[in-house]
């Protein structure tokens, strides 16, 4: 459904480069990385706000040569004032909903009710979280095939995050719709995402289905020297008061029975990847996908 091949974008002081990914229909891709890694840039490329400098972007077998047709299939949520701040939510929804063939006013009203948004309130009067909710409701109401969500959960309250996760699950259940979600909250990735893309300084460090990625690594804790015996399998080692903990690549010799070994969570994976030693750094590219 979504295919990126060697996509690059140069933005003055920032260079997003060599992005390869393939996301089948019906799955959720989580994009993680530190601030300035290129998450928003990539989402803006996919939303058609930026034009790629190199590579191929294929969305449902269409390229951005057919911009209007491609954007019919895309719903996007970004931070900031996306809509007209002086107009009411209802007015904004109807004004921009007219551009989408599949937009349903009734559905929009239903989402606004479920999300506890007052349709007669002016958009400029909403809090950050409410603006994101409104953008999310609008994105859903025109039934896109691809949802692009740029750190939406950061400003959601705990109750709404549950609703949000539930909606994402139901949204992809039909096997036709896909979601790309950038987030700092690794718990969202753990719960919702099927695929993972890790960006660092504009480069793709890791991509693949989450189970495979997690299967390729292990956390090992114990005596530092025992961990160092794993040599180049060690991605990053962190010394503690009572020993050391490390992220290691899961291949080769069996582990020392004195080491405690477990499959890393996404949070542990990302933490250690971000802090890895340059000598044990990963090569850019794809881990195995489905």
């Amino acid at each position: 459904m979504l295919k990126l091949e060697n996509v690059s974008k140069y933005l003055g002081s920032f260079y997003l480069r060599d992005i390869f990914l393939e996301l089948p229909d019906g799955y959720i891709l989580g994009i993680i990385g530190e601030n300035g890694a290129g998450k928003t840039t990539l989402l803006r490329l996919l939303a058609g706000l930026y034009t790629k400098d190199e590579g191929i972007i294929d969305i449902d077998h269409m390229s951005y040569e057919e911009e209007a047709a491609v954007k019919q299939k895309i719903g996007a949520v970004f931070h900031g004032d996306l809509f007209d701040i002086r107009d009411t939510l209802r007015c904004n929804a109807r004004r921009y909903g007219q551009f989408y063939c599949d937009y349903e006013d009734r559905l929009m009203e239903s989402y606004m009710t479920d999300f506890r948004l007052n349709a007669r309130k002016r958009y400029g009067q909403l809090s950050k979280g409410e603006k994101l909710k409104f953008a999310f409701a609008f994105a859903l109401s025109h039934k896109p095939k691809l949802l692009l969500l740029d750190e939406p959960a950061a400003n959601f309250d705990r109750d709404f995050r549950e609703i949000f996760q539930d909606i994402l699950r139901k949204y992809t259940e039909n096997g036709e719709n896909s979601v790309i979600l950038s987030t700092h909250m690794t718990s969202d990735i753990d719960r919702a995402a099927d695929y993972l893309l890790y960006l660092e300084n504009g480069r793709q460090v890791m991509y693949g289905d989450i189970e495979s990625i997690r299967g390729n690594y292990r956390m090992a804790a114990g005596e530092e020297y025992k961990i160092r015996l794993l040599k180049d399998r060690v991605v990053h080692l962190e010394k503690g008061e009572f020993g050391a903990k490390a992220l290691v690549r899961n291949f080769g010799r069996p582990y020392d029975p004195m080491l405690k070994v477990w499959e890393p969570s996404i949070e542990e994976l990302m933490y250690h990847m971000a802090k890895r030693e340059s000598g044990g750094g990963m090569k850019a590219g794809r881990d195995s996908g489905r």
């Binding site: 911009e67 209007a68 002086r86 551009f99």
Partner: protein
């Protein structure tokens, strides 16, 4: 979606007038710019001798069409609202929208000026010289601001969308405001035949070339503002 709805004149005209309603939204940059323009006008008015003879604000009503053109120029930006870059429409559609919005941004103030000044001239309140000067300056103001104004002069030199005009955008916008203010003050009083020819010659000599230079680059500017990436790009 209705074919061609996005850039239809109905939508463009509605969006144009809606911007006036939004003036009370206190968006950053708009109110300060507006107050600067209005403040300059009224300060200039207070200190000009010939106007003071007619009362503290003189015949300022004669300058209402120029005032409207100044306000219209200050309020409307060339770029589109963010969602217009996100919704399903092509770059060509966005360019057509921007082009039609420019036409509306010029036509409406000119039309308003024609009606007001036409009535005023018919009633003998203004001379034909004032009429011509007002219409010429409204045209110049509306065209220049319509093609260049993107939130005022501050930071204009950093805006990539202006292309070759990037270093000159701020001075050009400043010239627009100065011309507007000057004409507002001039047209509030009577204008003799000699004064008329001096002012119109100065306009031909200085303002017309500016308009031609900007007009020749309008296609590039319009194209840049039709793309989100170039519309918001600054610095570098």
């Amino acid at each position: 979606m209705e074919n061609g709805y996005m850039e239809s004149y109905r939508r463009v005209i509605r969006d144009y007038f809606q911007e006036f309603i939004r003036v009370f939204s206190m968006e950053r940059g708009r109110f300060p710019a507006l107050f600067l323009v209005l403040g300059t006008i009224f300060m200039g008015d207070i200190w000009l001798e010939r106007i003071r003879m007619g009362g503290i604000f003189g015949n300022w009503i004669n300058g209402i069409p120029i005032l409207f053109a100044l306000v219209s120029g200050a309020l409307h930006r060339v770029s589109l609202p963010f969602m217009m870059y996100l919704v399903p429409c092509s770059r060509e559609q966005r360019e057509r929208y921007i082009q039609r919005m420019l036409a509306v941004k010029v036509t409406v103030p000119m039309g308003f000026g024609l009606v007001c000044d036409g009535l005023a001239a018919w009633a003998g309140a203004i001379s034909r010289y004032v009429f011509v000067l007002q219409m010429a300056s409204i045209f110049f103001l509306s065209c220049m601001c319509g093609m260049l104004n993107e939130g005022g002069m501050v930071g204009a030199e950093k805006r990539k969308a202006y292309g070759e005009l990037q270093p000159f955008a701020a001075p050009l916008l400043a010239a627009c405001n100065l011309v507007g203010v000057a004409m507002f003050v001039i047209c509030m009083g009577s204008v003799s035949r000699v004064e008329f020819w001096i002012v119109i010659s100065a306009m031909m000599l200085f303002l017309l070339p500016m308009l031609v230079v900007v007009g020749k680059r309008w296609k590039e500017i319009r194209r840049n503002f039709a793309l989100y990436e170039t519309a918001v790009r600054t610095g570098e």
